[in-house]
Symmetry: C2
Subunit: 429 residues, 2 copies
């Protein structure tokens, strides 16, 4: 701990405020995550990964930087990690999930943009993000208006690269995205003063696919009629996935999956047999933000699937492991990433059908459309999602909220009513 404080001080952080924010996050983590009953023993590693995010993980990255590695901050799962890793660089998602940093963003940025963007900015502006001072480059994208324009402001002060995610998925858009992947590669090669090698990219592609497979396996234990892991714990694993060293993460997740496999055999479930099976669909819940998962699972339901960026969108679809040229490998990477079905595309039948497919596959009783406040794309797309679900007879509710606890009581009431409504609908059948 003393060593951590020394490190934060060296990084120029506001150590006092940083301490305050960390304590608040740890308090939430204790109340909302650690308090769960019947947790898998192998969650211990992931709990530690969250705890270490501002401590040991930062130190590890600094050590690697001292050995010549570059550190890349990201804000979106469209950034191809294979390429970053193949150039011996370290990708970490820098998205903020705490409300405490938001006022520091609101000093210069509009109040009515999404809490994730504001929290992220606020951590940096208030000198409470240990990653901000050590990053060699930040990589943004054009998935939403608030983020896109934020990058333009940050680019004035920080080494920044923006990837253009197209807005349709036609042939010309795939070409454009492929060019963006090439540009990204070029920019990273410049930064790292290295040339991307086919063999190395092959290995990191295999590693990322291993990570995706492990996360997909984890899903299978949620899909079971008696889920072996809570939605909250699955979220914690995902949050660690966006921060941790991928090799170590895979190893630990594979270990957890083994435990979950044993649980399935034993019939050990985290959920009551009568627990409603819920899918979350919409915006991500990044580290520090356990609010919606806590509200839903405290109400007695179990979240069996997250159709979010901290869920299926991160690990569905593998990169085809091409044995061909570097170009073919990059094409395969580009293809895989454009399959991610964010709400930023128009039209977006792909996301509609994904949501329906997942709802059926996971036999959900209801869908909670989770919208971070002022996120126009998910908020408006919720209309089409709601009507698609309604057609299939799947109940859904839209929750629009930020990171504050102010509306927790009201949301609890709404969610409980939603779950009870499902109950009585089911009883009628």
């Amino acid at each position: 701990m003393r060593n951590d404080k020394e490190m934060w001080k060296k990084l120029g952080l506001d150590v006092e405020l940083h301490q305050e924010i960390l304590e608040s996050i740890e308090r939430n983590f204790k109340e909302q995550v650690l308090s769960q009953k019947n947790r898998p023993a192998d969650m211990a590693y992931f709990d530690m990964a969250i705890k270490n995010a501002h401590c040991a993980r930062v130190k590890e990255i600094i050590d690697r930087k001292n050995n010549g590695a570059k550190f890349i901050g990201t804000f979106c799962i469209y950034v191809p990690e294979e390429i970053v890793l193949a150039l011996d660089a370290i990708p970490v998602a820098l998205c903020g999930g705490t409300s405490l940093s938001i006022p520091y963003a609101e000093k210069t940025f509009p109040r009515n943009i999404c809490p994730l963007v504001k929290s992220t900015l606020g951590l940096s502006f208030s000198r409470t993000c240990p990653y901000a001072p050590i990053k060699d480059m930040a990589v943004g994208e054009t998935t939403c208006d608030a983020k896109k324009k934020t990058w333009d402001v940050l680019s004035k002060k920080v080494n920044f690269h923006v990837m253009e995610v197209p807005q349709k998925k036609e042939a010309k858009d795939k070409e454009l995205w492929y060019e963006e992947v090439l540009n990204f590669k070029g920019r990273l090669e410049e930064l790292t003063a290295k040339k991307l090698e086919s063999e190395k990219l092959s290995k990191t592609t295999q590693l990322m696919n291993r990570k995706r497979r492990a996360l997909q396996n984890l899903q299978s234990y949620r899909k079971a009629s008696a889920p072996a892991i809570s939605g909250m714990d699955s979220l914690v694993v995902m949050q660690a996935a966006l921060n941790d060293d991928p090799e170590r993460f895979c190893q630990k997740l594979e270990q957890l999956n083994e435990e979950l496999g044993r649980r399935i055999k034993d019939g050990t479930s985290v959920a009551d047999k009568k627990a409603k099976r819920v899918m979350i669909s919409g915006c991500p819940s990044v580290m520090g933000n356990w609010k919606i998962h806590n509200l839903i699972e405290s109400a007695g339901a179990v979240i069996v699937c997250d159709e979010t960026c901290t869920g299926t969108r991160y690990f569905e679809n593998l990169v085809a492991e091409e044995n061909g040229s570097l170009e073919q490998q990059l094409k395969a990477i580009s293809d895989r990433y454009l399959k991610i079905s964010c709400s930023c595309f128009s039209p977006n039948e792909e996301r509609m059908s994904n949501v329906l497919r997942l709802a059926k596959e996971y036999q959900v009783d209801g869908v909670v459309q989770y919208i971070l406040q002022y996120c126009h794309t998910y908020n408006v797309e919720a209309i089409n999602i709601a009507s698609a679900l309604k057609k299939e007879g799947i109940p859904n509710i839209k929750i629009e909220t930020d990171y504050s606890e102010e509306d927790a009581g009201q949301l609890k009431t709404r969610l409980e009513a939603f779950l009870e409504g499902i109950e009585s609908e089911n009883a009628k059948r």
Copy 2:
């Protein structure tokens, strides 16, 4: 009037509610536009064009439809009107500027999206838009999150075409946009069952350039040290430009320009010599919305330039009049439209430098950044614009507002303080 009512009834409008909305718009028009002193006599035509927007203009379009023309509703100035006109179709901007229709949109759409989108939707949903039932196709684009996702919802019910406006302006983006222009042409050819002809496109390109030149000329009379026309009246002309028949519009505007030329010679100005010269920069003010222009000019300032979609963005840059192939003509059109400097691009140094250039060219004393509520792109970009202006010593203020009159008092106070601040700054020099 009786004939109009008959027409609205036939179109299936809610005649009573429609009447209420029209009366409210006319009341505002009278109070905020007609009440101005020393207006050019030739504004009479444009006043009438606003008055006729739901009456004679609709009838005219129905008559042309009866003779085989198709009617195309648009929501953005990125839609190339040359192509629409060359296929004997009629383009009209369907953007709503009234607060009265907003509650009808909020029944199904989020409350926290921009008033322009909500007003437009509300007019259609409440059956008070005479254009909605007669349109053969609507054309949207991907310039902002709220609009992009709204099109996905509307596409389920209405014949809709979405043009993908790219988010960068690199070579690959220009190619993508050119393909979008070709797709648009294809879709229109299908709708009209006509083939786009080079000669016809040449003529409509000339017509649109004539319109742009006339609007540019109008600007020159605002640029004068003693502006011959108010910002409000210039806005009224622009609002008419988005609705009226282009041929007739050009003729009438050229006539107005002649009058303004005489005014300049005579030294007849609409503004006091001491009036602060203001530029509006940011979001459009569409028909029905005269709020910000009224607030600024009632406070004694004169708006000499609008860096908005109802301003320079609509008429700056001509289409190169190519004598070559249809392909070359379409390329020239595509090039011209992508020059429009909307806040949707990243990075956007182009818009920064446009704002600075215009502020200097028009010798403005201050810039009002006009942001429609929840418009993330202009709202966040306001940070970079403000700092660019500050560097040049040009005062600026950001006003974020919707269509309601609730905040008018507060805005008046803020704007007056802003103008007084300029006064005292100037006095110091």
